[in-house]
């Protein structure tokens, strides 16, 4: 008989989901669900628990006052001093058969102290990424994911430095040997399970992870914000008591013994996808090829599983499942691990390959379709089948004409091809390879024609690259002149920029000159700093920038302002504070707006928008009516 102990404090919905999942999950192991109501401040929660207890589905212990998680856990463990115990947080969810697998893991060997399952949010036991809070993968619930773990990692247990408290199976022998949780030191929770596991480890017992169980954990419900402070205090006690804990943990994280069991599940997720799998092959550079690969991968997202193979900077071949919520990525040595790479790709069930480039990859990458028995497409982005230097340029500057190949060997003398080949060997290798392709796609007729003139029997399709429509909205350039220091309104400028960004106003601020502090600039904020200029160049700089309006933010009264003269000469609208020399100098100006010196940044932005609306044609100004 096993006791499943659930200390409860707050969070009705999460707690209901947790306890209902425990009650609903069929398990062969005989067990008793023990709920400790630690004086919950939510009467509905306590009431719901009482009903369950009356129905005889749970054993309920209710506290008159709040004693804390550790005391509750100890009480639960003390209830039946001969039983193993599972301590389960109230914000978890379990799946059918979970307890059987946890118990099997715990009984593998007599010296097991604790067993922890995989979870989405539980320190080093988290999946798919370690030590962070992960959402569940799209389209999967706890039961589906747990079933996957159960199948892929069947019977696998790994030693971990300490168990994790969200769901901790504790053997009775370990409690006997190491004693209960330390209430005095860890009062209301955090660190007590680490302390317990370290005591057990020092007594020669093992803390295991059951790699074939997944339990969902929401996290941070029971303690809320107070958690992080309490966590730091607990950490200090642990560090003092167990100086080996941090090194052990660091060592464990460095070795990542759980990594392969996470990735096996990832791989299995991929294998179960009903979509066809396409393997893209490309290089590791940026630019058009990468853009196309990304565009295409996004375009195919809901229609196919895309894997991308590219060279890694350490000389290995990198294969990655291109899906936002997947972590599946593997690296293979091109020589020693090529068979492993093939095993991996076969296991992934590749249906078709699509080459975009082969730069940086080993030659055998061309033979992959044969090895995998799949058809392949090729999209040409440059002239690599013809020219081992890819761009038909001998010197990197001029087009070489690139027809008969008679000068190419001497070209290769200076910079050999990436694989040891003469030009003839290179072309004949790629010629044969292109002939074997199901489709060879050229994005332009010009490229197709150049290919045809050298390799007339390669069947080429001219498909321009698919391009998504780009969002484009009108924007107005607001210029500030000179050295924008604090007294000239640098802080206000920052606020104006932040406000324009937050409200999506169609304004872009441009400082012709410099500012007195580093500011967030474009593309992170609608601001560009043009840099200092020499005075005689100001008029030319304004002409070059063609601003839609000028903004002055002086914080103290200006005595004259030469820069204002420059702004006025351009004939564009001027927005300035009603302060110092501005009112008298702008009196005659039709396009000027004066705002009171105490106006907020948002108010100034509104004044700019109003001024532009008043002085420009309505079609261009529709944008002003509806902020982006």
């Amino acid at each position: 008989m096993i006791d499943i102990v659930v200390p409860v404090y707050r969070g009705v919905a999460a707690t209901q989901r947790c306890i209902e999942s425990v009650l609903a999950a069929p398990c062969a192991e005989p067990h008793e669900v023990v709920v400790i109501d630690d004086a919950s401040p939510e009467p509905a929660l306590s009431a719901w628990l009482r009903v369950l207890a009356q129905e005889g589905r749970i054993t309920l212990r209710a506290h008159a006052s709040n004693l804390g998680f550790v005391a509750s856990a100890n009480e639960g463990m003390a209830l039946h001093p001969e039983r193993d115990v599972v301590l389960l947080n109230s914000d978890t969810e379990v799946a059918p058969g979970w307890l059987d697998r946890m118990a099997a893991c715990a009984r593998r060997e007599p010296n097991v102290a604790t067993v922890t399952p995989f979870t989405n949010n539980g320190s080093v036991c988290s999946y798919p990424r370690s030590a962070v809070s992960n959402p569940l993968p799209a389209g999967m619930d706890t039961a589906a994911l747990d079933a996957l773990f159960a199948e892929v990692n069947r019977g696998i247990a790994i030693d971990i430095p300490v168990g994790v408290g969200f769901c901790l199976y504790v053997r009775r022998a370990a409690i006997a040997l190491a004693g209960p949780f330390d209430e005095a030191a860890f009062g209301r929770g955090y660190g007590e399970e680490v302390d317990f596991c370290m005591r057990a480890a020092r007594a020669g017992l093992r803390n295991l992870l059951a790699a074939d169980v997944f339990v969902y954990h929401e996290g941070e419900v029971s303690f809320g914000k107070v958690g992080s402070e309490r966590r730091a205090a607990a950490q200090a006690i642990i560090d003092e008591r167990y100086p080996e804990f941090q090194p052990n943990l660091r060592d464990f994280i460095a070795r990542e013994p759980l990594l392969q069991y996470r990735r096996r599940v990832d791989l299995e997720r991929l294998r179960r996808s009903p979509l066809p799998r396409v393997l893209f092959v490309t290089h590791a550079w940026h630019g058009g090829v990468e853009r196309h690969v990304q565009d295409l991968a996004r375009l195919l997202e809901s229609h196919a599983e895309v894997l991308v193979m590219r060279p890694s900077h350490d000389g290995r071949v990198d294969v990655r499942w291109h899906r936002a919520d997947a972590q599946l990525e593997a690296w293979f040595e091109p020589e020693a691990q090529w068979p492993t790479c093939l095993d991996f790709l076969r296991a992934a069930g590749i249906d078709r390959m699509h080459y975009h480039h082969v730069h940086g990859l080993p030659e055998q990458v061309l033979d992959l379709p044969l090895a995998l028995g799949v058809p392949y497409d090729v999209t040409l982005h440059d002239y690599f089948p013809l020219c081992p230097r890819y761009h038909l340029s001998r010197d990197g500057r001029h087009f070489c004409g690139g027809r008969d190949g008679s000068v190419c060997d001497s070209c290769l003398d200076n910079a050999p091809a990436q694989w040891p080949m003469t030009l003839a060997q290179w072309r004949s290798r790629f010629h044969a390879w292109l002939r074997g392709a199901a489709r060879v796609i050229a994005p332009s007729a010009d490229l197709a024609a150049r290919m045809r003139s050298n390799m007339p029997d390669v069947r080429l399709l001219v498909w321009p690259h698919p391009e998504m429509p780009a969002a484009k909205a009108p924007v107005f350039k607001i210029a500030l002149l000179g050295a924008v220091s604090a007294v000239k309104g640098a802080r206000v400028l920052e606020e104006c920029v932040a406000d324009a960004r937050a409200r999506g106003l169609p304004l872009h601020f441009h400082v012709i000159g410099h500012v007195d502090r580093p500011m967030t600039t474009w593309p992170d904020a609608p601001l560009t700093i043009g840099g200092s200029y020499r005075d005689e160049h100001l008029a030319a700089a304004i002409e070059l920038e063609r601003p839609d309006a000028f903004l002055f933010l002086s914080q103290v009264p200006e005595t004259y302002s030469y820069t204002l003269t420059a702004a006025l000469r351009s004939g564009m609208p001027v927005i300035a504070p009603r302060l110092g020399a501005f009112p008298e100098r702008l009196e005659a100006c039709r396009h000027a707006t004066l705002f009171p010196p105490e106006t907020t940044a948002a108010g100034i932005n509104d004044a700019i928008v109003a001024r532009l609306a008043a002085s420009r044609s309505p079609t261009r100004l529709q944008a002003l009516a509806e902020p982006r």
Binding site: Q260, E268, P274, L296, A304, H313, H354, P466
Partner: protein, 872 residues
Amino acid sequence: MTPEAYREQLLAPLGRRAQSPPAPLPALPPVIWFAPAAAGVHIGLRDLYAAGVQCGHGESLAALASEVATWDARFEAAQDNVSRMDAERAGLIADRERLLEALAAGAKELEQTQHAYQEYGRHLEGELDRSRARTRELEQSTFWRLTYPLRSSVHGAKVMLRSLRGVSHQARLMRPRIATAKHIAREQGMGELARRLWHKAAAGRTASERLVPRQGLEARIGELHVPTSDEPLVSVVIPTYGQDLHTFTCLKALAAEALRVPLEVIVMDDCAPQAAADALREVRGVRFVRNATNLGFVRNCNAGVALARGRYVLFLNNDAVVAPGCLDAMLRLFDERPDAGGVGAKLVYPDGRLQEAGAIVWRDGSAWNDGRDRDPRAPEFNYVREADYCSAACLLVPRDLLLALGTFDERYVPAYCEDADLCFRIREAGRKVYYQPAAEAVHFEGVSHGTSTGSGVKQHQVENQARFFERWRGVLAAHRVNGVLPRLERDRNAQWRVLFVEACMLTPDHDSGSLRTWRLIEEMHALGCKVTFVAENLEKREPYVARLQQMGVEVLYAPYVRSIRALIEERGAEFDVVVLARYYVAAHYIASVRRYAPQALLVLDTIDLHFLRQRRLAALQENASIAQSAEAIYRQEIECIQRCDVTWVVSGVEREILAREVPLATVMIQTNVHEGVTDVPPFAAREGIVFVGGYRHPPNVDAALFLAREIVPLLRERLPGVKTYLLGSNAPRAILELQAEGLEVVGYVPEIEPWLDRCRLSVSPLRYGAGVKGKINQAMSRGLPVVATTPSVEGMHLADGEEVLVADAPGAMADAIVRAYTDEALWNRLSRGGIANVERHFSRTVARASLAELLRLARKKREGKPRSAMHA
């Protein structure tokens, strides 16, 4: 086209996926899931500024920003460094003061000695004057006969005086040097003094002293992840005592190795004042173990081995930094040499000087680090060989062997001589200790010994050397006396020393002549020869040099050898056999070999008889000037044969010709070496016809042209669709232009075997030539039938119709090709017959027997003429 339409088109052939239950997941090694460490590319600030600020490159700008952000901290660290160095400098100045005092004391001692000599000299001069006076007296006396003994003593005194004057003069000149020498002799023993003098002399001989500095220490201890494995192949045991920056540098280098080799790393902190785990707390993946008390190097290492789980244990000093690929290279030796019980690395100093290429232990138990202070790229330090021992600064040993031997013997506690002793015990257990030059480690020697250093260390060294000598006295009796012939002592176990001189570097993947020589060298090596190979052009062509060196062959090359003549002059005395390949190479060096290596058996390897080949070309082309050159070659080649002890030919036919031409010469058949395969792809699985030939060999060019112009056109009609492939390196334009229907010029292929297994037939349409045809044996050894011309099968012991089809005219050739290509029963008979012929006449067994016979002749020669005293 809209994006959606593009997608439709792209996915059109795919359709919906058939869902079959997935097969079980394959076993995948965990290492594939580890992401590579961030690329450590260093770009200078100036470049980052230019690219980022001036050119507007975003990534450079970001890199500049993060680089600049670290700058203040780095400046502070540098300042700390400066103050630490100031302190060190103060220490060094104090040391220098002490040394100067010692030097002054030594000089004073020398002065006193010199003074004593001068006194003695004056005394002798006085004696001489007195003697002269008496001589004159006596000469004038009548007892002349009685004065003989006295006269002789006067002569002795003169000689002695002269020599004493010389000593005194030398002493004045050498005073500073002698003081150093005396110091070395007193502190480190006479052996060390001998070693230094030898290296001083050797350094003068070495042409190249261009040293390449190695990587230094990391700037500071930082974050590091060593991706160690749960199932390590190698357990790295690093004894430490402080020196954490060294340890960090050491671990950083290991981290890169760990991507290739599953490792675990155990740092054994020998109770240093600051715990290593603490100093290196940002290092992940490493197991830190701290001893409760200071155990000393020996016990600390032993404790580390007890914790190790890998199949191998690497002893690595914390001040040693492995170069990329070091572990692979060391492990490879265990794979390639089943008798390996220990493998050591090449240790270099940070400034690029060699520190140790294995160690030599002398008869008195003292040891030299072989190659110390020399150029680590010198050929003599770059081939795999046995070493008396390799330093435990970087020593790889199988763990089961260590456990069986009990690791380091505790009689050497706390340290010194334990590594030498371990290597001797490895040999006692029947295994060998190898030096692997391809594995390099930078060793900041003397920084740390993984134990507390202090007074009494020198004493341990002396005591342990005595213990070591006691323990191994019996074994050491067979070693040379300290400092005698280190070059020979280095390969003490070589039974024979063979010098092989060829025209060019061997390229066994390009031509069958190279392949033959390569395999002969392999066989010589297997027979216990130390082979020294040199190409006449002194080239160092990779990867062949490296492959030979890994086999254990000493390969010599420029600039370390200035010329073949200088080489023979300097080292001729050490060889038992000298092989000169090709008459035009041999002609230059026979005289040198006779003069400087009179003890050596001199072998001329004809490869194929050049004059014979040339005569046949002349006949084929009916060309008088070729005929004339053939006769010139004939005279030179025959002269070489007459002047050498033994001549190698590749076939019985050639031997018969030479038996007529040069009846007194000892001619041995040393033919090509091939291995017959058992797994032959069947008739039905093959297609195409293949011709193989290196086109530097003129008969092959003729044969390829003959095949393409006269035979392939016939085959186009009779075997439509069957392709003929021309393989081979260095194809001239005339061959490249042969490409036509049914004929493909493939050119050089790195591996020829796949072609021989894929094609159905090999042709050898040679119309002239001599020797044995490698292409035929190579084809036959893989069970590929051959259709050949009469000149091709000469000397090959092949029966027409059983092992080969022979035809000469184009029509007959085409007939034979069609028969063999289409008749499966015939094909099978030829395939089996060919393999059997290779086994009978061209196998390794045949080659080895013939080489053994050659070595018997060498022994006879050695015993007939006593070898020089050097070899005693």
